[in-house]
Symmetry: C2
Subunit: 397 residues, 2 copies
């Protein structure tokens, strides 16, 4: 196999297959492989990994998984399997790649322990669900927390998920028991968009009892993973996965966490990435809030108690870091009270008539019919077949 002289490779099926193979052969985040891939492109990187030019460590890692097979053939098998499940592959070469993930390159630190060194962006993502990935993640917030949550934590996470999704924000979490599930369910209840970032194949419901939850999430939003279909949820993969949750979103909200919770790791990744670090307090008598309170004693962490607080924080972050502010990012406080009240009844996906909207928010239908065209003109809402829904970034195209 010969190497091109330029790092720019054609966007061919070969490039996609090489990315898949690299994702299969080496655990995600690997610093050496990430830097190599960025320098040479995936095809050359794969060749070098396999033939040992990229160092014996990467070669040995790859050889263990290859067992003498052709890496391109392994990639084809993975993609065929994904096709059968209705999952698709998204790579950095695709339009729907969320470029926010590339910030992960900057936090990888040579010479540190693997979990801090191997923070490179995913080679590719396996995706279930129809929503374009970048669009779903554009205005997104992570909600993370304890698996062994309390009723209090579940209540708060559900409320936050519901309130954020209802105001057009995508709720990202890890699909686990406890806070994760509560946040996803809150977003689903608001007919909003929610994204589960798994630490195993998108075809593997883990935990098993969340199988129907994952079906609902894939139906209304997205289930995504760096690991190929059939990959197992190894323990160390959860921490590795957490960097993607932090990087894909504008900020991370931690709801309940004991002193040693993995959710704190996600929050620290948000800090490393310059994203908003938001934490919900709880009773000081609860072990499940100890980690939250420790974080809240750090000056750069912001206490939040409701969706408004979260939006205030990530909206600001958004203004600082997002290249082109969209119409939908316009501050709501330019609206009149009644306009805001009507807007609260407009959902991101589900289409409602002016009458339905008026009924939900308690505004007379006649007024709702007058106000909705104004909200369309102000680019908060779009008129569609059968009524109105919230405006999406893609509506501009």
């Amino acid at each position: 196999m010969t190497e091109p002289h330029s790092a720019a490779e054609p966007m061919t099926a070969e490039v996609r297959l090489a990315r898949i193979a690299l994702g299969l052969l080496v655990e995600p985040g690997n610093r050496e492989l990430g830097l190599l891939t960025r320098a040479t492109g995936p095809v050359v990187a794969l060749a070098r990994v396999v033939n040992g030019q990229a160092g014996s460590r990467l070669r040995d890692l790859a050889a263990t998984r290859l067992s003498g097979r052709d890496p391109y053939r392994l990639a084809e098998v993975a993609i065929e399997r994904a096709d059968r499940l209705g999952a698709r592959l998204v790579t950095p070469d695709d339009d729907e790649w969320p470029h926010r993930l590339e910030d992960l390159v900057q936090i990888s630190r040579a010479g540190t322990r693997p979990i801090d060194k191997d923070t490179m962006p995913p080679q590719c993502l396996w995706v279930r669900g129809d929503w374009p990935l970048a669009e779903a993640l554009d205005r997104s917030v992570a909600i993370v927390g304890a698996r062994a949550s309390t009723a209090y934590g579940d209540h708060v996470a559900t409320d936050l998920g519901y309130g954020l999704a209802g105001r057009g924000w995508t709720v990202v979490s890890g699909g686990a028991f406890g806070i994760d599930a509560a946040a996803h369910r809150g977003a689903l209840a608001a007919d909003g968009i929610t994204v589960a970032v798994l630490a195993n194949g998108v075809d593997r419901p883990y935990p098993l009892s969340h199988a129907s939850l994952f079906e609902q999430i894939a139906g209304a939003g997205l289930v995504i993973s760096e690991w190929p279909p059939e990959a197992d949820p190894h323990r160390h993969r959860f921490l590795v996965r957490n960097r993607v949750i932090a990087a894909a979103t504008r900020g991370t909200v931690m709801v309940e966490a004991n002193a040693r919770s993995g959710a704190r790791f996600t929050l620290h990744r948000a800090r490393d990435l310059g994203r908003a670090q938001l934490v919900v307090p709880g009773p000081v008598t609860s072990a499940m809030s100890v980690g939250c309170h420790e974080e809240l004693r750090e000056p750069e962490v912001t206490l939040v108690t409701n969706p408004g607080h979260v939006i205030e924080a990530v909206g600001r972050i958004g203004e600082e870091f997002v290249a082109e502010p969209r119409g939908v990012d316009e501050p709501h406080d330019r609206l009149t009270d009644i306009q805001r009240q009507v807007l609260d009844g407009v959902l991101p996906r589900k289409v409602r008539t002016a009458e339905e909207i008026g009924r939900v928010v308690g505004v007379p239908p006649r007024e709702a019919r007058q106000i909705l065209p104004a909200l369309c003109a102000l680019q908060f809402v779009v008129p569609v077949e059968g009524g109105y829904r919230l405006r999406r970034p893609s509506d501009e195209k």
Copy 2:
């Protein structure tokens, strides 16, 4: 009455009576009267207030309360009444005056609403209890919060009061229902020192059902007030009083507070004075924590969940602002673990034998007997008749 040319007046009975009269005739904190008193001394200030040279407003205020009587005679009546109750008068001319209160001069702002303008230090304080006032307040923390507290708030305030008092810190509060009472009771349960700062005469139990609590506080610590005996607890006096709670202590801990709680006012006074602002979080679902969480969203407010957090914050403040660090202020972390463990069993007032101390903290009596002399040498503890107690500032004299 002739005026001396110097502001320095002799420390006579006349000066004390003049201070009492000024405290009786004009509500505490008055900016004009405070500045005048500092400039001319109390005797001249009183003469000018009465004869109108200090302006018609002060003259009219005083005339309303004098009704033609002699101000010195009014003061004598007040002090006779205090004598009968076993209360004493402490003025800025006395050794036991807590000079930290003088910081209040710096936060008084001309041209603002009365509550922000009239923040001058008390003219004098009426005191029930044996402890020298300045000594009791030297290492002190305020614990304030809602009157309509929840069981959670009462629990936390009691724990904080107990833990702080048990580690030699004086717990200052306002003697009200709810958080105040819980904090006082926690300190009493630890055999510690607690100070109730009332907004009415020290002979008036308000609330009435706290009569026996105030007796206990006066027995173990102090009950103090700027208002003379028999003064009523008018509504506006509570906010005026709060400046004394903030100024007398090294920091204020707020435990529960609804959005409009007066406890927030005390916390803001602590902020104005550069004292530590410490707040305990609670469930975001509790209206009684809304004020706490709003304060915790301010960058200069520190979240605390236990006495250690509080001491960490006020200890630091103490090092910065207290003129001469005393032996008892030495950082505990210079001690070994076992020394610290033994020290935890030594109380500020109640004398314990080495055996009792060992039993309480779970250290064998023989070891406790060996360690206590070292703690005495390090100036944490003093040996007294019948055992040991914590060292006080006055032990140096």
